[in-house]
Structures are given as structure tokens and as C-alpha cells.
């Protein structure tokens, strides 16, 4: 995973609550056995006027001009401003894969669904929880100012607005560390391999039926 560095980005507002993972990346694209290439199908049903198929050249498809990401003023956006319960529904990691492949580095919302929230950190996508009031204010600011940008600084846990004022945000220290350093979780866990083996040995004594049943 790449290190998460401080960045400035255009903000795209997606003004609807309960954006589910089916909406973020519809099921037909989950048939891919790769981790990459989902960007062109991000929000497929909202973004295009036709039904998308896997492997299709999306540059030839009719775009929905009303959809926010198709508006020229949000071209190149890397900050997604969203409403409550973003990422609800399935556990598909294809949702953060599609968002990052498109170019998003962070999603700002009043709340996130648990599995999506967790999956995001594993893929260098930073989900930031802000109050409903702050989110409302940002929606108004983005609407009023074409080219509205925010600076996201994970190290200091701050979002810096164009006028220099800041919004502080919370992030779990372990997840922050992993994002900043671009760390692979598995490597970290394997440093505790001996502890895992000790646990298994004890468990095998107290609950032997949990081992060797499936072969």
C-alpha cells in the first residue's frame, strides 16, 4: 500500500444518504478477479444512461449529464463529500477499489457503514467522520464556489479550508499509523506468530473439536 500523504483536492458533493455498495459498484463488475480497473464503473448506474457490462469501453457510453461526477467543475476530484451511512450494504472491497481507482483519496461523511469503513483503510482511502453541521456547511461551500478545494493532512488530523481555517478529525491511532507508513497488516500480525501458536495450543486442549474436523 502507498503511503498516505498530505494533499489538496477538488471536492465533489454526492448529496444523498445511505449510499450503498451496490450503487458504488454494481454487481456485474464484481466478477473481475483483479483489484484494479474498477474506476470507470464507479457509480455506474448514476454515471451512465445505459446498463454497463464488464469489459466494456466506457468512453463510448452515454453519460448522465446531471450526475455530479460528470460535471466539468468536479473533474479531477479527490475528496468525496457524502451524507450519512455511506457505504452501507455488502462487504465488497470493490467499493473502495472503485473509489481509489477513480482518484478519490478521502470520503467525508457524518457516518459510515462499519465494513466499508474498515475496508477503506486497507486500501489507502481515508474515511473521515465529521458532524452533520460541518458536512452541511461544506455542501454549501462547495455549491457556492466552483473549484472548491480542501487540504487533507492525516498527520495533524486536520482538514484545511481555502480560507486557512481548519477542521479537526478523529482517526484510530493504529489505522493512522498504517496509512501514513503504507504498512501491510499481514506482515505486522505475523510478527505475533508465536502468540498465535500459543493461543492455538491452549485452544486445542480446551476445544479440540475446533481443529482437524474439515479436511
Amino acid at each position: 500500500m502507498e503511503k498516505f500523504v498530505k494533499f489538496d483536492g477538488i471536492v465533489a458533493p454526492l448529496d444523498r444518504a445511505n449510499v450503498d455498495t451496490d450503487l458504488i459498484i454494481p454487481k456485474q463488475f464484481l466478477k473481475s478477479i483483479k483489484r484494479t480497473g474498477f474506476g470507470p464503473n464507479l457509480f455506474d448506474e448514476l454515471r451512465y444512461l445505459d446498463e454497463g457490462q464488464p469489459g466494456q469501453d466506457c468512453s463510448q457510453r452515454p453519460l448522465n449529464p446531471e450526475f455530479v461526477l460528470n460535471k466539468p467543475r468536479y473533474k479531477g476530484a479527490s475528496v468525496l463529500l457524502a451524507r450519512r451511512n455511506f457505504g452501507c450494504g455488502s462487504s465488497r472491497e470493490h467499493a473502495p477499489w472503485a473509489l481509489t481507482d477513480f482518484g478519490f483519496k478521502t470520503v467525508l461523511a457524518p457516518s459510515f457503514a462499519d465494513i466499508f469503513f474498515n475496508n477503506s483503510f486497507k486500501n489507502g482511502l481515508l474515511p473521515i467522520v465529521l458532524s452533520e453541521e460541518t458536512i452541511d456547511e461544506l455542501f454549501r461551500a462547495v455549491e457556492a464556489n466552483e473549484g472548491y478545494q480542501l487540504t487533507v493532512d492525516l498527520a495533524s488530523q486536520q482538514i484545511i479550508k481555502p480560507d486557512g481555517s481548519t477542521i479537526a478529525f478523529e482517526v484510530d491511532p493504529f489505522r493512522k499509523h498504517c496509512l501514513l507508513e503504507g504498512l501491510d497488516d499481514i506482515g505486522l500480525t505475523l510478527q505475533d506468530a508465536e502468540l498465535i501458536k500459543e493461543y492455538e495450543a491452549k485452544r486445542r486442549e480446551t476445544a479440540p473439536w475446533l481443529f482437524d474436523a474439515i479436511k
Binding site: D20, K27, E93, P208
Partner: protein, 468 residues
């Protein structure tokens, strides 16, 4: 000191290492694998030169992409075929037990796991699928994970987790005739909302939950995720224990006795404290139908659809307006005015033998209405299908005009060929009514198996009790 909740007990029993930052390394007893969320995990292992930590903790079966029609040839859709083939190849290469497409034990992972005794009380169970919460019905700690975590569990048999908060949802009273587990869980989601359980592990309790069969408890826990909770669970009782007697991977002999002794401790202590306790009167629950595009947009069958103008929360009101537009419905009507173009009985929520029996009871001696283009029954596994056929349920369905299919996820998410056409309404026993979920432009109405069968024969949504 207060006693422990069931969740506390399951959590404590699986801590490998408590970290200073509040997270813990948690041991995972069982991982279920399917073709959609595992290929990138296996690829990750290969790229890093890693091997699975413990082969016998994993079990796999393809379910999302498999056709529910004739399976004598290869899967027609090339992309689906490659994905299923990739699961077969990965399981063969790494040595993981898989029930392949034409094995009678193949099925939806969440039906197969308990059926085989691969799911057991007291286990931590994960799967790259949000409906893994299903297995909590057996007093297990079960939840969905993404592909990175699938790889993490394959490589380390552990997950890094932060303990969730605890919620008890107590459903007391007695369910009226015709009201099922599905109606109970839809009523719960309607009440607490799709984010009501976010950050919580939910224990379902009360006399109604105790009265439900294991199949019914699975239906309720299955949809905990639709209330935002990664995990749902129910305390172990005699029914739980009896369910596992004789299952292929369940313990036997002295191990069985030892296991049962432990399983009997898997309930919340009488003095346990929960962060949140919610109580519902089960006697007041009527058959439920979803009308919108979120599982919280649910009404009782005789209730008028809600008016967004009466909704105080502007974000919620906007969501309702969008849902009405997508669904082609209007506030104030009742669901009895809506004709289902298709009917789908199946999915990890409602494709077990009890679900099929309930639907067959309604279908028996009746015919699918000519207003309905298609009504299909998709059993949850090959073994459920066999049992249903032994009981003659297949004949009842076929005589009534239902299609009797091969097992898989099918039209719950339409990754295979089973899907809705644009604008079509569907009475579906599945779990999600999101836009496009069952097919591009499709309109899903979540109901119980009995209510789905009733809608099929009546040609409109109807209170199943009116057919009695």
C-alpha cells in the same frame, strides 16, 4: 461487577493479544470462502509467497455466479465461468476443501456452513460477505469482512479488531399466525433504521426469539447487517445443540459432550449490561413489505405508504422522494395495489427447508397468477433441494406454476442470469432492496416466503392470512 454478555464471552475467548491502542488480535475459528471476494486474496498470498495458516479452518463453495438452471455444461457467461474456475483452481492449489458446483453439498455459503456443522456455537466465523452475521444464530461471533481481511485470515488465522458496543433487542410476546422471522427482522429494521446498529454487535433475545426455529433465528441474524450491525447473535439453547447432532463436521463422542458443556455457557449472564437495550412487542408485528430502496423503508401489509412531506428530517425525506421515483409508487397507497412482475423465493435469508415449506403451504392447490411473469424457487443448497424433493415440495411448486431451480444466490443480487427487467416489481425473500440490486432498474419488495408465495398466487401483495 456486572456479568458478561454473550458477545463478551465470545470476544474474550478469542483474544490472542490485547494491544495498547484498544485493538486486539482476535483468533478466527472458521472462514467460509466463495468465488466473488476471494480471488484477489489468494492472489495476494501468492504474490507475497505466503501459505494459508491453517487449511482445516477454511471451507469453500461457489454461490454468487452459479446458474440455477441446467448445470451439465460449463457456465455460459464467460466472466462468471472464469471466476468460479478461479475458486476451484485456488482451492485445489492451496488444498482447501471446496464443494464444487455439481456437488450436492454446494450451496449458498451461509446455508452450507451450518448444514455441514462447519459453523458451530462459540466459534468466530468470517466470510467475505456481509451476510455472515447469519451464523450468529448459533451463538457464534460471525461477521462479514472485505477481501484484504480474507487474505489476512488466510495468512494469519487472525483479525485486528476493536471491540464493538453491545445492543440487546428483545422481542417478547407471541407472533400472530402468518407472521414469521422475516417479518420480525423487517419490523426491527423499520424501527431502528439501516444505521441503527452501526458500531454494535446485536444480541436478539426475548420469548419470540426463543420460540423461533434455528432457520428463523438465521433469518433474523442474517439481516443484522441491514440494521447496520456487522454481527447479530442469539444465545445457545437446546434447539441450537440439537441442530448439530449428527452434522458431518460436528464433534462426536467425548468431544460432543465436551462441546455441549461449553456451548451451554454461551448466553448472556442475567446481570450482564448492554450499551443499548431495545424492546419490541412481537404480538403487534404484522406481515411486512418493503416499499422503497432501503431495508428501513418497510410497512405492514395493510399500512399506507408514508408521506415524505410529513418527514421532519430533510435528508430522510429526500431519500424517500428519490425512492418513490425509482419505485414508481406514490405515498398514501397500500402495497395491496402493487402487482409483482416476478417472485423470487430464495437467498441466504430465506432458502432453507422451513422457508420452502412455508411457501409451499401457501402455493399448494393454487396457481401463480397470470399477472406474474415468473415465480421461481431457488433452494439454498443441494441438500435443501434434496430434502424438499423428498417431501414433495418441488411438485407442489411446479404444479402451482413456480420454477424449481438449482441452488445459489440467484436473483438476490443477480450476478448470474437470474434478474429483473427494468421497472419490474419483485416480491422477493432476499435481504436488500437497493436500486439495481436484482437487475438494472429492478424494483425489489422484501417479504417473507409465505408472503412471496401469497403475492404470486394473488397477483398482488396480499396479507397471507387472507388466503387461509
Amino acid at each position: 461487577m456486572a456479568g458478561k454478555t454473550l458477545y463478551d464471552k465470545l470476544w474474550d475467548a478469542h483474544i490472542v493479544k490485547q494491544r495498547e491502542d484498544g485493538t486486539a488480535l482476535i483468533y478466527i475459528d472458521r472462514q467460509l470462502l466463495h468465488e466473488v471476494t476471494s480471488p484477489q486474496a489468494f492472489e495476494g498470498l501468492r504474490l507475497a509467497g505466503r501459505k494459508p495458516w491453517r487449511l482445516d479452518a477454511n471451507i469453500a463453495t461457489p454461490d454468487h455466479n452459479v446458474p440455477t438452471t441446467d448445470r451439465s455444461g460449463p457456465i455460459e457467461d464467460e466472466v462468471s465461468r472464469i471466476q468460479v474456475q478461479t475458486l476451484d483452481d485456488n482451492c485445489d492449489e492451496f488444498g482447501i476443501l471446496e464443494f464444487k458446483m455439481n456437488d450436492s453439498r454446494q450451496g449458498i455459503v451461509h446455508v452450507m456452513g451450518p448444514e455441514q456443522g462447519a459453523t458451530l456455537p462459540g466459534m468466530t466465523i468470517v466470510c467475505g460477505d456481509s451476510h455472515t452475521a447469519t451464523h450468529g444464530a448459533f451463538g457464534a461471533l460471525a461477521h462479514g469482512i472485505g477481501t484484504s481481511e480474507v487474505e489476512h485470515v488466510l495468512a494469519t488465522q487472525c483479525l485486528i479488531q476493536k471491540k464493538m458496543k453491545s445492543m440487546l433487542i428483545k422481542v417478547d410476546g407471541e407472533l400472530a399466525a402468518g407472521v414469521t422471522a422475516k417479518d420480525v427482522v423487517l419490523a426491527i429494521i423499520a424501527k431502528i433504521g439501516t444505521a441503527g446498529g452501526t458500531g454494535y454487535a446485536i444480541e436478539f433475545g426475548g420469548s419470540v426469539m426463543q420460540g423461533l426455529s434455528m432457520e428463523g433465528r438465521m433469518t433474523v441474524c442474517n439481516m443484522a447487517i441491514e440494521a447496520g450491525a456487522r454481527s447479530g447473535m442469539v444465545a445457545v439453547d437446546d434447539k441450537t445443540i440439537e441442530y448439530f447432532r449428527g452434522r458431518p463436521f460436528a464433534p462426536t463422542g467425548a468431544n460432543w459432550d465436551k462441546a455441549v458443556e461449553y456451548w451451554r455457557t454461551l448466553h448472556s449472564d442475567a446481570d450482564a449490561e448492554f450499551d443499548v437495550v431495545l424492546e419490541l412487542d412481537g404480538s403487534a408485528i404484522k406481515p411486512q413489505v418493503s416499499w422503497g430502496t432501503s431495508p428501513e423503508m418497510v410497512v405492514a401489509i395493510d399500512e399506507a405508504l408514508p408521506d415524505p412531506d410529513q418527514e421532519a428530517d430533510p435528508v430522510k425525506a429526500e431519500g424517500m422522494r428519490r425512492a418513490y421515483q425509482y419505485m414508481g409508487l406514490k405515498p398514501g397507497i397500500t402495497m395491496g395495489e402493487v402487482v409483482p412482475d416476478r417472485v423470487f423465493i430464495g437467498s441466504c435469508t430465506n432458502s432453507r427447508i422451513e422457508d420452502l415449506r412455508a411457501a409451499a403451504e401457501v402455493a399448494k392447490g393454487r396457481k401463480v397468477s397470470d399477472k406474474v411473469k415468473q415465480a421461481m424457487v431457488v433452494p439454498g443448497s443441494g441438500l435443501v433441494k434434496q430434502q424438499a424433493e423428498e417431501e414433495g415440495l418441488d411438485k407442489i411448486f411446479i404444479e402451482a406454476g413456480f420454477e424449481w431451480r438449482e441452488p445459489g444466490c440467484s436473483m438476490c443480487l443477480a450476478m448470474n442470469a437470474d434478474r429483473l427487467g427494468e421497472g419490474e416489481h419483485c416480491a422477493s425473500t432476499s435481504n436488500r432492496n437497493f436500486e439495481g440490486r436484482q437487475g438494472y432498474g429492478g424494483r425489489t419488495h422484501l417479504v417473507s416466503p409465505a408472503m412471496a408465495a401469497a403475492a404470486a398466487v394473488a397477483g398482488r401483495f396480499i396479507d397471507v392470512r387472507e388466503l387461509a
